[in-house]
């Protein structure tokens, strides 16, 4: 299984530059190309390669919806082993859930949920709570975002 990459220094720099952000411009890759002293075509060729290797998942916008009043919470549940599959299905079917992870802990299933308002969030949680076979649930509402960013390098 090929999971480790030894990228040359240029590719590593490119990965970091991608994560730092591109300009919102008609040709966002052109500026990047200039930073690397290569043509736009060459930069695009490298990006396609990184994507093909699976290192680059996508290029898109990152948003901060809290600016629009969107609220979120992290929810931890204790689900009995045999109920894990069913619980995961119920959570997956909820459109307001973005992430759900099984974790090594008494509270063994953790998901994040977002909604347009605190009232809406409460409604969704009430609905999920009655459907989920959880023995214990904690709802941890977001008070402050200190950091929301990925910045990795390979190798």
């Amino acid at each position: 299984m090929k999971t480790r990459y030894c990228l040359d220094e240029n590719m590593n720099r490119l990965m970091l530059a991608l994560q730092a952000g591109l300009p919102i411009a008609a040709r966002p890759y052109q500026d990047l190309a200039a930073d690397f002293g290569v043509s736009e075509t060459e930069i695009l060729r490298r990006l396609v390669w990184l994507k093909k290797q699976g290192l680059l998942k996508r290029i898109n916008f990152s948003f901060d919806l809290s600016k629009l009043g969107v609220v979120s919470a992290l929810v931890g549940c204790r689900i009995a082993g045999p109920d894990m599959g069913r619980a995961a299905k119920i959570i997956a079917a909820c459109g307001q859930v973005t992430h759900n992870y099984a974790r090594r802990h008494r509270l063994n299933m953790w998901f994040t949920i977002s909604a347009a308002s605190p009232r809406r969030l409460k409604e969704i949680l009430t609905r999920l709570n009655s459907a989920l076979p959880a023995e214990e649930t904690v709802v941890l509402s977001t008070e402050k975002i200190y950091k929301l960013r990925f910045r990795f390098h390979a190798g």
């Binding site: 736009e40 996508r58 916008f61 950091k147 990795f152």
Partner: protein
């Protein structure tokens, strides 16, 4: 509040990635019924409002060698405000292996207020990180290693904006 055009643009880009081509917004503009320049103006305006943070590449951290990740929770309520600030900024936010860091309202049964996601190359590295962050001050904490990703997807903003 946002106008319909801004909402349409946000909903569109919550579902679509930027294409790897010379002019990635050209097609999007056509789909949205805008000129490319108008679309760019709307995007820049959303960025000025802080709704769009930036345009960036998303790296697959597992492919990049970060095989282990964990949710770590700390109870920082015993710290003075300046100490807490230093703990969060110097220990957590500035560490490039931390992708998310939040303050949350703690609950009975889970009495922690600061949460972070750490991406590391091994479980030992996670434990070492936690040991180092809590060495000087005794800060109660728990490590919740990720066992399985059950759902991870881009959320459509449609339900959130309407």
């Amino acid at each position: 509040m946002l106008g319909k055009r801004e909402k349409d643009v946000l909903i569109y880009f919550s579902r679509q990635d930027a294409a790897l081509c010379s002019r990635p917004f050209k097609k999007a503009a056509v789909k949205l019924g805008l000129t490319e320049n108008r679309l760019l103006a709307v995007l820049r305006d959303l960025q000025a409002k802080g709704v769009i943070k930036n345009l960036r590449g998303v790296i697959d951290h597992r492919q990049a060698g970060y095989r282990t990740n964990a949710l770590i929770a700390w109870n920082t309520r015993g710290l003075r405000p300046a100490e807490k600030d230093d703990f969060i900024q110097a220990r957590l936010v500035s560490d490039e292996r931390i992708s998310h860091c939040y303050q949350r309202q703690s609950q009975p049964g889970f009495d922690y207020d600061v949460f972070a996601m750490l991406h590391a190359k091994s479980a030992a590295e996670v434990k070492r990180f936690v040991r180092e962050t809590t060495r000087q001050k005794k800060i109660a904490h728990e490590i919740l290693f990720t066992e399985q990703e059950l759902k991870k997807e881009k959320m459509s903003f449609k339900d959130l904006l309407e």
